[in-house]
């Protein structure tokens, strides 16, 4: 069962109100010219403190789709060269993430596209290449495959193949991913690992409303194309206090959500709340778990994971996607390379099975809390 993640957020960097102006005056989205906001972000060494900025930042309780809606609103407001489009985006999107945006910013900046994913992404690449921010919505991650060629062969290589003359860094592709309880084969998939095999794009997956808002704004303003997968199970379920202003969270920076000493757990997106429950149950049995939210899957923060495993000596990775060739395999291999002598048990992977995503058998397919708990115990008593 999913629960809201209401724990205090670490490191919410509020971008000063003058960011927008800086952005406007920065015509180049990518090509090594960082936008004002990005510059500000990187110069202030984020994500080192776990202190939530309690008190001085106005916050409001929001669910995930509303937090994403806010981020999109800010993106449009702070940069006149930003556009949002995709199937059914105009009326607010099938998950309500683009609610009111067309009314507020006009149909030239927020619009429906024909039902054609390859068209959506190809169009977005071209728009981004002209120094715009193209925020493309793919209605479900399960339907991103027609756009695979555009993402893998085009977006990812636009900069490299031109010798950095061109880039489509203003491109962000948003897509809801993951299980939802009744989605069957085609409304449940977690295709992140396909994209993690593609140098040139970034893959970002938030776990909660406040994370989503900050990470999405960073993704939109990042000078590289980003595929941003949103955990659709949490659109309504996950509610937490979200800072009201414009802020960004750093990419390629994992976050230690819960500190522990016996085993390191690494995950992302909706799976984290399941893992968190397993950590709580394990602690009742005297096992201290460290839980890490990877947040950006590529380029990923190996250092944070490595440091944690060097402390705990054990690693468990968990994701909904099938275990074989999942991103857990990459994490496992990297950590074995780096921490071989420190490991006290084989790296555990608690993931989906190597089957299509099944409707009736979903509760069996899923990497559930008790599967994780079982693997934690096996690892600790290895």
């Amino acid at each position: 069962m999913r629960i809201s993640i209401t724990r205090a957020l670490s490191i919410l960097q509020r971008c000063a109100r003058d960011c927008p102006q800086q952005q406007h005056s920065s015509p180049s989205v990518g090509n090594s010219t960082l936008s004002g906001a990005v510059r500000l972000l990187s110069s202030q060494a984020l994500a080192t403190s776990k202190e939530p900025e309690a008190g001085n930042v106005p916050k409001k309780s929001l669910n995930l789709f509303s937090a994403i809606n806010q981020a999109l609103h800010i993106a449009l407001e702070t940069d006149p060269r930003s556009y949002i489009f995709g199937e059914d985006v105009n009326f607010g999107g099938v998950f309500r993430c683009t609610t009111n945006l067309a009314d507020t910013f006009g149909k030239h900046r927020v619009f429906n596209t024909p039902l054609c994913e390859q068209g959506i992404v190809g169009f977005a690449i071209g728009l981004a290449a002209m120094d715009n921010r193209a925020i493309a919505e793919i209605q479900f991650a399960d339907y991103i495959y027609p756009a695979f060629d555009q993402i893998v062969n085009e977006a990812a290589k636009f900069r490299y193949r031109s010798g950095n003359q061109f880039n489509c860094g203003g491109l962000t592709i948003r897509a809801p991913y993951g299980a939802v309880g009744h989605g069957g084969h085609y409304h449940s998939q977690s295709p992140e690992s396909f994209f993690c095999h593609v140098p040139g794009i970034k893959v970002v997956i938030p776990r909660s409303p406040a994370q989503a808002k900050g990470l999405l704004l960073s993704s939109i303003r990042d000078p590289n194309p980003v595929v941003f997968f949103e955990p659709k199970w949490l659109y309504r379920q996950s509610v937490e206090d979200v800072p009201e202003g414009d802020y960004m969270l750093p990419l390629s920076k994992a976050e230690v959500m819960r500190e522990g000493t016996d085993i390191t757990l690494v995950g992302w997106g909706a799976q984290l709340s399941v893992m968190e429950q397993a950590c709580i149950d394990a602690s009742k049995e005297g096992i201290s778990c460290e839980l890490i939210d990877l947040r950006t899957l590529i380029p990923w923060d190996r250092e944070t994971v490595e440091a944690s495993v060097n402390k705990t000596g054990r690693l468990l990775v968990s994701h909904e996607a099938p275990v074989t060739g999942g991103f857990g395999a990459e994490i496992s291999a990297s950590i074995v390379e780096r921490c071989f002598l420190r490991l006290e048990a084989p790296v555990a992977r608690v993931c989906g099975y190597d089957t299509p995503f099944p409707l009736v058998f979903e509760p069996f397919y899923m990497p559930t809390k008790n599967k994780i708990l079982d693997a934690i115990k096996t690892s600790v008593s290895y």
Binding site: D142, Y143, P146, Y186, H187, V360, F364
Partner: protein
């Protein structure tokens, strides 16, 4: 079955068609040309003085306009002098007036007029219909030979479909299964087209066409079992509701990704053709689906490979919330057929008789001539897109009500069979209550059946279980044994 008024947009246009599409379509498009390829520099030059000889109009009389100075100059140059050595002579016919341009990409004649083809024809493609909104035959309509038995069978199936949709929709709302979508407004497309096909024709559906299976004998129980995902579901509970399929009934199991079935139907038709089966393939899809790359790939493949494929587009005005104006700027779907060299027709998708005739004729063309046909059936999606959608967010209630009450295709056909004396209030009452009770009985039975066994999670990924899946099944059974309360109890282990 030829019927008056049934017009298929042929590649070789009829005069009638030419009139309709006069602005955009002629037999072969002439090619505008100013500079001749054989430019020698010495020939009479156009005013601009560039190295080139103005091309004359090689077109037929209809393409030629008044002679210009340029073309007069041109005609003074003897043909022989224009031929460069080594150039293939056959590139030009003896008769200059009929010289054709023979680039490999298009065989056409020249024109010196620079004319862009307009984006749409002057008049939209007319819609073939036989019955008006009140179920009365149009004045000159030549109706198909349809006897009472066939007509009432079609009507019964339409009522069954309508009833199943209404009850299943409510059942989903009450939480009995996870998802549903209705065919309301498109019952005629479902049933009339199915009736015009043969059972051996292979049918690839999108998701709003369960009526084809129904016509072919998929029972209420079969539908209910699939929606409940129970042990009797042919798909073994793996897919969402409405993802039907039946090998026995020649309907490959559908999937959710839009338009993927279209090129598959073309491949299937090629297989049928090569094995000399007296059958075609049929692919149903929506207006939204026509935007996907797969649609365009499918039409092109079908034309090139000359496959017996009938493409049936349900242009119901909406793709979830997206209106057709955000989907395409062409005159609907029908005109796209010509873009690929495919014979096409637009039909009233709420007129059972017109649909029946058009599909019957399309099938004849597909099989006898071994070529694809595109049918655009105009309709309206009366229901919400699905149980996950609330269409009042993007369209007016009055609009829905109008189509539901005034334009209902089931009612329209009923009026016609009543007028034939084949149907009356008594038979109506009987069939409606029979339909209701059979749907409810099927649903209740389906709800009581067990779910498919757990092993079905791992089977059928491949023809046999590879070692990784065998191992994963053992691991799963192991955790279930340890944590029996963590898993649903309705799935037999």
């Amino acid at each position: 079955m030829a019927t008056r008024g049934l017009r298929v947009l042929a590649k070789s246009s009829t005069p009638l068609l030419r009139r309709t599409l006069s602005n955009s379509i002629s037999e072969t498009r002439p090619c505008a040309r100013i500079l001749d390829a054989e430019c020698s520099g010495a020939a009479a030059l156009p005013a601009r003085g560039s190295c080139g000889v103005p091309a004359r109009s090689y077109g037929s009389a209809t393409n030629r306009t008044a002679d210009t100075e340029l073309s007069k100059n041109w005609s003074k140059t003897p043909p022989a002098a224009r031929r460069l050595s080594g150039e293939p002579e056959k590139a030009f016919s003896d008769d200059e007036d009929h010289e054709i341009l023979d680039y490999p990409g298009a065989k056409t004649n020249f024109t010196h007029e620079m004319t862009f083809i307009p984006e749409t024809a002057a008049e939209p493609v007319p819609c073939f219909r036989l019955l008006n909104d009140f179920g009365q035959p149009l004045p000159w309509a030549k109706l198909p030979q349809m006897d009472a038995e066939l007509a009432t069978k079609i009507y019964r199936n339409m009522v069954n479909l309508q009833t199943m949709d209404a009850i299943f929709y409510e059942a989903q709302r009450q939480g009995r299964f996870s998802f549903y979508l209705t065919t309301h407004g498109e019952e005629a497309i479902n049933i009339a087209s199915a009736a015009a096909l043969s059972p051996q024709d292979v049918v690839f559906t999108q998701y709003r066409e369960p009526g084809i299976l129904m016509w072919r004998g998929f029972t209420m129980q079969d539908f209910a079992d699939q929606c409940f995902g129970n042990a009797a579901d042919l798909g073994k509970g793996r897919q969402m509701p409405v993802h039907y399929g039946s090998r026995e009934l020649n309907c490959p199991t559908l999937s959710s990704p839009i338009a993927t079935q279209l090129p598959q139907a073309v491949g299937a038709a090629y297989g049928l053709k090569m094995s000399r089966k007296d059958a075609c393939s049929v692919a149903y899809f929506g207006d939204g689906a026509s935007s996907e790359g797969d649609f365009h790939a499918a039409l092109n493949f079908a034309a090139i490979l000359e496959t017996p494929t009938i493409f049936i587009c349900r242009n119901n005005g909406w793709a979830i919330s997206t209106p057709t104006n955000d989907q395409f700027r062409s005159d609907g779907i029908v005109v796209k057929g010509r873009g690929y060299g495919i014979r096409s027709i637009r039909v009233d998708g709420m007129d059972t008789l017109a649909l029946y005739c058009a599909v019957k004729e399309a099938r004849k063309i597909a099989i006898e001539e071994s070529r694809p046909v595109l049918i655009e059936a105009l309709s309206y999606r009366v229901g919400h897109h699905s149980t996950s959608d609330d269409s009042s967010k993007y369209r007016k209630k009055a609009e829905i009500e109008h189509w539901k009450l005034v334009r209902d295709p089931v009612n329209r056909f009923k009026k016609w069979i009543e007028a034939q004396g084949w149907w009356d209030a008594k038979s109506e009452k009987a069939i409606r209550s029979e339909a209701r009770s059979s749907v409810i009985a099927a649903m209740n039975k389906a709800g009581q059946k067990q779910k498919p066994e757990l092993s079905n999670l791992f089977t059928d990924v491949y023809d046999s279980l590879p070692s990784n899946l065998r191992e994963q099944e053992l691991q799963l059974r192991d955790v279930i044994a340890k944590y029996p309360r963590g898993y649903p109890t309705d799935v037999p282990l």
